[in-house]
Homo-oligomer: 437 residues x 2
Amino acid sequence: MAAAGAQEQAGAKSPDLVVMKFGGTSVAGAEEIKRAAGRIVAAREQGTSVVAVLSARGSTTDELVEMAREVAERPDPREMDMLLSTGERISCALCAMAIVELGHKAISLTGSQAGIVTDSSHTKARIIDVRADRIRDALGQDSIVLVAGFQGVSTDSRDVTTLGRGGSDTTAVALAAALGGEVCEIYTDVRGVYSADPRIVPEARKLPVVSYEEMLEMAASGAKVLQLRSVEYARNHGVQIHCRSSSEDGPGTLVVSEQETLERPLVTAVTHSTDEARVTLTGVRDEPGVAGRILRALADANVNVDMIIQNEPVSTDGGADLSFTIESNDLPAALDALKKIQVSDGVETDEHTGKVSIVGAGMRSHPGVAAKVFETLGGQGINIEMISTSPIKISCVIAADRVSDAVKALHQAFELGEGAIRKEEPAGDEHRPTVAG
Amino acid sequence: MAAAGAQEQAGAKSPDLVVMKFGGTSVAGAEEIKRAAGRIVAAREQGTSVVAVLSARGSTTDELVEMAREVAERPDPREMDMLLSTGERISCALCAMAIVELGHKAISLTGSQAGIVTDSSHTKARIIDVRADRIRDALGQDSIVLVAGFQGVSTDSRDVTTLGRGGSDTTAVALAAALGGEVCEIYTDVRGVYSADPRIVPEARKLPVVSYEEMLEMAASGAKVLQLRSVEYARNHGVQIHCRSSSEDGPGTLVVSEQETLERPLVTAVTHSTDEARVTLTGVRDEPGVAGRILRALADANVNVDMIIQNEPVSTDGGADLSFTIESNDLPAALDALKKIQVSDGVETDEHTGKVSIVGAGMRSHPGVAAKVFETLGGQGINIEMISTSPIKISCVIAADRVSDAVKALHQAFELGEGAIRKEEPAGDEHRPTVAG
């Protein structure tokens, strides 16, 4: 089996330690917490040291954000982090109690206590160091260690910081890297990474293995199963991620380096997103460096720009149009930032924009893929507004209400479904049948 | 007015700093938090530095305790503290946001960040040091400082600790002492300290001033308005407490040293409690030091014993009966501790016990007070099961279902109601009329 094969190929990391991460739905209530505790204890009883990273329970983070909005229109970011970091602490304390109840030693640590050191970029902080001495001490005393995900402490001001949505994945991968864990197990409410969102495409198949590069493109283009930054961190530190179900046994999806994937499908998955906003600046000033100023202003406001298109060449009379896409959530901050620099005649926004993407490491040597994407969408009467490509990805911005149709059509066109015959690289058109599972 | 008079007499503490504490009902929802933020900002705008200590919102702590019980029969105390400490952090972060929204600088600090250093007695920790450098720095930068009440950090293991129910009062007083604040303002859902619980005695009057000693006895005998330990701390460090309403203006009750009280009423207040449990050990072994062993076992289990009575003298044949009262919550821990030492034939418990007490600094020189208490209760047909006295307090253990009757009868017998003429000490029977207010 591909998953086991890849695991056996793993490097010289410690097989005596596993880092397990449980997401919000996996610790949502008392029953889920006890089930997670049971899984953790089962791993410990096989002789491995266990560090478990937990997210906030269910909708806790959303509730806290809502509370903040009730008391302040623009909640102070430092205080937002102080507020939001409580959710994961609650999960960890409860899970530690459940483990102690099962007769094992357990200790919960905040991000700060666990040595997760970050920069000071509140609500979107980056991990800059992991000082895991306290975790090592606790493991040495035969304790299971629960770590509050999503949070750290800033070097300069010793303030609580948070890593942004999905940040617990990054906490888990960072700890696996720092502690020399062979694999970081991410437990979630889905069985793994799929060839498309199964809610849209019921015949989507679970992928046994994907490469870091594919997973990065998938995360960047809408797959919500893993946070983008956690995949980057895993790739940079050679940590395997095993993304699997918290309620079922059996293997999930392994995220590994490309040489470990064995399979090289032409297209691996279709991903999508409907929370994109498009901003168009009309009549952008014809000055040197103006695009740089725009992107600098957005970066300073912590807005991630996805696609950028300059619609017309800069002319001497009126200036060009510049369009870009961002996350819908970032729209107010982006508009604020643009207002300050005043480099265009007007600003138009479209909040109802979607994006569909296909990702696959095999695309690199198959230039016909893009044409097939455009033909497929065209056949559905779907208008493509913007296009962006990488060697292993093609993304199209389309109307939000056509995203489902686009995902279904592309999934079928590239034959990604359960039981599909997958194409392999390298060397031309050799076919190797691989049954999914 | 007595309150203002007492305040003017205060010592050489800094008038430039006020510590304000807001209880759970005063930060229960968004509206309450904004109102507290408004009060804090109003104090700041008068030129004082402000440190505000906040409790967890409304029923948060109860909800967290309930969660813990769902995952573990006996929640681990260290993890319980990690869990419970989140409630106050949420309040503080939200209030800081609300203050920033009002245009002032504000920063929230956890107990640990605020330098509240405690022993390691989880769920009932004691403050052993206050290292308030970080608060001073923030005040020096013109910031309002919000401190999460009820919590600290243990010296030895750097773990989060909590101070027990009502511990936020102690946090506030300890910070006032460490920072040299003249007065610690405790904002609550009542207008001050009353001559009896107004829910039982509608004509109970608000006391303008009480002494530390009286307040200690009142807190120990059931008055819930201030935590016992906070009053001890205030007395030991010479911090005035001003207990007042968070929803209304006007003075509340000042808790000050006895020489500042001006009035010396014979009896100041009637207090009561219905969450007492009585434990009777029958046939206690006739060995030297056996009572000491019992109390040591209870102390080690962190059980506070209130009254103790040895019903019969130790005889050579059977041993004596020893009864004591504790908080109902502590009953399981007490029975566990007693099981381990095995010093009696049997253990009987009564969970439905109540206590009624009268407290007053003027009692010291009036031996007739006790007789009047017993006559009053006797006149109501209330059976007194146990009695304990101090120079300024008389407590009687009675059936829980007679507590209301006892409080009403004693309040009337000692004429403590609104508009009452209060007696003054020293020097015999001089009478000075004082209108309550």
